[in-house]
């Protein structure tokens, strides 16, 4: 449902930020974008969101070339979950989730019952209905992240772009958001998330895209793509991928080798 072909971007022509990025995200699939800071992940997301026009290549959404779509149409096909929201004022949670319906308004018109229903459904799906009338500022980091996911769900698009959904969250909230992401993909959502935790690729993702210096270094299933060699190269720091045996399944884990010179 999301197809990125040879995407290129630069701020200054002599210093390309994205060089021929190609990968795709399919319905019901979670793709995890890994890479060190400053490698172009954020720029890639900005291109996908239409905040920056690609300098080359193309992005297809549900078979439609994104550069031909209006912002409104794009928002109905693809929703964005920011890392954190810079809301400056004491908005209520339901007001924030309702913002996700702005792409469905007729010009100058008001929200309809279908919009309020979509808001309620989104909050119900994430089990945060009880937060509806709370002030966003009074919520914990984990609750805020859930509200931002709910706002994206209210957009009723099948593709979710999530910018480091687990950043700034404590352990239990990280687990909670990963479970939510898996749950959503099981319902048919395609999800592209960026992360700084390669472990999350094994825990939740179907696809891993390793990005370095504006290029896709390697991509594939986490099993293929996330290996000791690739991570060591990606982060320029010795990492070993090992297998751990939990009480009911085998999980691959990434361990940075701190003792290694």
């Amino acid at each position: 449902m999301l197809e990125i072909n040879n995407l290129q971007y630069w701020y200054k022509p002599r210093r390309p930020v994205l060089k021929e990025i190609s990968f795709s995200v399919k319905r019901g699939q979670i793709a995890c974008l890994l890479g060190p800071n400053g490698t172009g992940k954020t720029t890639l997301l900005r291109c996908l969101l239409g905040l920056q026009a690609p300098r080359g290549g193309s992005v297809f959404l549900d078979g439609k070339n994104m550069s031909h779509l209006s912002a409104k149409k794009r928002a109905r096909l693809m929703a964005y979950v920011p890392q954190s929201s810079g809301l400056a004022f004491p908005y209520e949670v339901r007001e924030i989730v309702l913002m996700g319906r702005v792409a469905y308004l007729s010009p100058g018109g008001a929200h309809k019952d279908t919009d309020r229903q979509a808001v309620f459904d989104a909050m119900e799906k994430l089990e945060i209905e009880h937060l509806a009338k709370r002030s966003f500022q009074e919520l914990s980091g984990g609750e805020r992240q859930m509200v931002l996911v709910a706002r994206a769900l209210a957009q009723q698009s099948d593709l979710l772009i999530m910018d480091e959904p687990t950043a700034n969250l404590d352990y239990s909230n990280q687990v909670k958001i990963l479970k939510t992401i898996k749950h959503l993909s099981a319902q048919g959502y395609g999800i592209l998330m960026t992360s700084h935790y390669p472990d999350h690729a094994f825990l939740a993702c179907d696809n891993a895209v390793l990005m370095r210096d504006g290029r896709v270094m390697i991509q594939g299933t986490p099993e293929e793509a996330v290996t000791s060699e690739s991570l060591t190269k990606l982060y320029e720091t010795p990492v070993e991928v090992s297998e751990a045996l939990t009480s009911y399944e085998k999980v691959k884990v990434c361990i940075p080798l701190l003792g290694c010179p």
Partner: protein, 341 residues
């Protein structure tokens, strides 16, 4: 914190504000040097719609219709306009300290008005020059941010500060050139703001400007709302951010520049009132803007009534709004601090 939580609270608050405004509107006719009985005020107003035998003298009718009515209407319109413009800027710039003169409109208008007052200048010339330079100032800030900052909103705020300072410097030059017996005092008093020179024609300028701006803001109310979450998020939700930004700036500028060119510079109201409104009805833009208009109208009308009760010409309006606005802001700060940070 007393942020609105219950469904229906918005309409309750709006009804109370509207009733308070209507009561105050009629009560305001009774204030002033020339005493008029409430029944007479009522009859004079009604006589234009139904047939009532005339028992009042012409002066009385003139005071009610030519002096007090425009002044009261303008108090409501100007207070409402400045407040809604402040509420829009605070939402657009995601900044609780944003005020209607953020982009330099007041400084520009002040310079424009003072320039004409150097040689006397008629009321109409002063107004139109203030209007013109207020718009020039905002345009300059907008162009500076376009040329040097691309779409960046922080650059726009900085450009506003720069343009404000620039026009304030020009204003200072005009003041040093002004005749100290005649022009300088009138410039100084103009800058302190007053509804004293308001007349029926000013209502005819203010009303369409207000209606057009409010219609524009109303049309884009939900799009403006999303901007409180930031431009990137708003764009990802399908909002045409550059267009909405222009709409907010054009409407707010039109509201503010019409207000300022009629009444001079009236400080603090545009910044404080949205915070009062936010405590009453929450932060959501549609509700915030509606409540801001009513609270702003009430606020300015009350303060102008105080001035008229004390005696005309004793206290400048803009000074009194600042005098009352600043402590109110401190009280709000203690209540809402958590929500801003």
């Amino acid at each position: 914190m007393a942020v609105a939580r219950k469904r229906g609270r918005f309409w309750t608050v709006m009804a109370i504000l509207a009733i308070a405004l209507i009561i105050l509107f009629f009560a305001s006719f009774l204030i002033g040097r020339y005493p008029i009985a409430p029944a007479a005020v009522w009859d004079i107003i009604c006589s234009h719609f139904i047939n009532i035998p005339v028992y009042w003298d012409a002066t009385m009718e003139q005071v009610v219709l030519q002096v007090r009515l425009p002044r009261i209407l303008l108090g409501i319109l100007v207070g409402g306009a400045l407040s809604i413009s402040g509420a829009s800027y605070q939402t657009l710039f995601k900044n609780p300290m944003a005020s209607p003169d953020l982009l330099g409109v007041s400084a520009g208008a002040g310079f424009g008005a003072s320039l004409v007052m150097l040689d006397g200048g008629t009321w109409w010339q002063i107004q139109s020059s203030a209007f013109l330079f207020g718009i020039i100032a905002v345009l300059a800030a907008w162009l500076i941010s376009r040329v040097f900052g691309g779409q960046n909103i922080t650059v726009l705020v900085l450009a506003g500060i720069v343009v404000s300072s620039f026009f304030q410097s020009l204003l200072s030059i005009v003041k040093t050139l002004a005749d100290t017996d005649d022009a300088l005092p009138s410039i100084t008093f103009w800058l302190m703001g007053s509804l004293g020179r308001a007349n029926a024609d000013d209502v005819l300028v203010m009303l369409p400007a207000t209606v057009i701006s409010l219609a524009l803001l109303f049309f884009f109310r939900y799009q403006i709302d999303t901007l409180a979450a930031g431009e990137a998020e708003a764009a990802s939700m399908g909002v045409n951010v550059p267009l909405v930004k222009v709409v907010v700036i054009v409407s707010s500028t039109l509201l503010t520049v019409s207000a300022v060119s009629i009444c001079g510079i009236i400080g603090w109201i545009g910044m404080v009132v949205p915070h009062i409104a936010r405590l009453l009805v929450g932060a959501s833009y549609t509700k915030l803007a509606a409540a801001s208009f009513l609270v702003g109208g009430l606020f300015l009308l009350i303060i102008d009534n105080v001035i008229r009760a004390i005696g005309v010409g004793t206290l400048p309006l803009g000074v009194l709004t600042s005098l009352i606005g600043t402590p109110v802001f401190v009280v709000l700060l203690s209540k809402a601090r958590k929500a801003w940070l």
